[in-house]
């Protein structure tokens, strides 16, 4: 039986369509469902590594999925992976920009207050961290925890280059497309990520 979600969005057009068109719509929806099911957990992990926030990661994955369905569902199935990761990376980059602005505004009042009381103010310690506890609770494996923490130390672009190349198995051209940058930039980010990880591997190795 067809899941309700596959027909619900198209009620208007779907009812008017011919049987062949209906079949095509359902098949395409099923393919999209299968594709999204195959990438949802990876996408969540990628967002989580970058944001360190469970709720924001889920939101970013949802936004990426919705945009893919809305804009690119008519594209051939083999084009969905690079398109999806490109959308996700774009959403993650937007998230970082928003965080930067938010942190600037949140730090300013506390900075003024602290500056009045004492001179040894620490900017890093005063940065807001609203989601550390749920994140820590969710990740059960210590090794995974350590690996995610290590990957989190990479810059967002290095994370993207490394994850797409090493984990998703994209080649340089596909990674460049998904990141929206040149192939040269991908090589640079990937190389720096590898060096950093090699140097710091002992923190979670074994």
């Amino acid at each position: 039986m067809t899941p309700p979600a596959l027909t619900h969005a198209f009620d208007g057009d779907y009812n008017k369509a011919s049987p062949i068109q209906r079949r095509q719509v359902l098949e395409q929806r099923q393919q999209l469902d299968n594709f999204l099911a195959s990438v949802e957990r990876k996408a969540f992990r990628i967002a989580q590594i970058s944001t360190h926030n469970v709720d924001d990661s889920l939101e970013l994955v949802q936004e990426a999925m919705m945009k893919l369905v809305e804009r690119y569902s008519d594209k051939p199935e083999n084009e969905w992976p690079p398109l999806f990761y490109r959308i996700l990376n774009s959403k993650i980059n937007d998230w970082h920009r928003r965080q930067k602005v938010r942190n600037r505004w949140m730090i300013w009042p506390s900075f003024r207050q602290q500056n009045d009381d004492t001179n040894d103010y620490n900017l890093v310690e005063s940065a807001p961290d609203s989601s550390q506890a749920p994140f820590e609770n969710m990740v059960s494996s210590q090794a995974t925890d350590a690996l995610i923490a290590l990957l989190h130390q990479l810059s967002p672009r290095q994370q993207q280059a490394f994850i797409l190349r090493a984990w998703e198995g994209f080649d340089v051209a596909e990674t460049a497309y998904a990141m929206g940058c040149s192939e040269g930039s991908v090589k640079t980010h990937y190389s720096r990520a590898i060096h950093f990880l090699k140097d710091n591997m002992q923190t979670f190795d074994g």
């Binding site: 992990r45 889920l58 690996l147 990880l197």
Partner: protein
């Protein structure tokens, strides 16, 4: 450690980490996927804008050609529109066709009768 080994090890660990996601998160992911699938696909700009626009342009061009040709062919006869109206009036009239065919005779009879009355 070689780069390939490092990459392999990290990829494997990340794979394991997705498999061991907690149940609540997996349910949430499933739910957001279903919500995403309910989004109606937006038509591309080509479909949404250029197709109706090109259809409109073609229709407008055809209409312009038809109007232009009609004007060209009707130009020599100045009272063409009046003739068309008369034809329509004739077709719509309830009178017998014989009466209409003899209309000129009746008009002559009418004028002749009037002249005789005047004289």
């Amino acid at each position: 450690m070689q780069d390939d080994e490092l990459v392999k090890q990290i990829a494997q660990q990340l794979d394991d980490s997705t498999e061991s996601l907690d149940y609540a998160t997996q349910l949430k992911l499933q739910r957001i996927r279903q919500q995403a699938l309910q989004v109606s696909p937006k038509e591309s700009m080509v479909k949404r804008f250029w197709q109706p626009m090109s259809a409109f342009l073609v229709t407008a061009s055809l209409a312009a050609v038809v109007v232009f040709n009609t004007q060209q062919t009707t130009a020599p006869t100045s009272n063409h529109q009046t003739e068309i109206l008369e034809d329509i009036e004739l077709l719509a009239a309830d009178e017998e066709l014989e009466f209409i065919q003899n209309l000129e005779f009746y008009e002559w009879l009418d004028k002749d009768g009037a002249q005789q009355l005047e004289s």
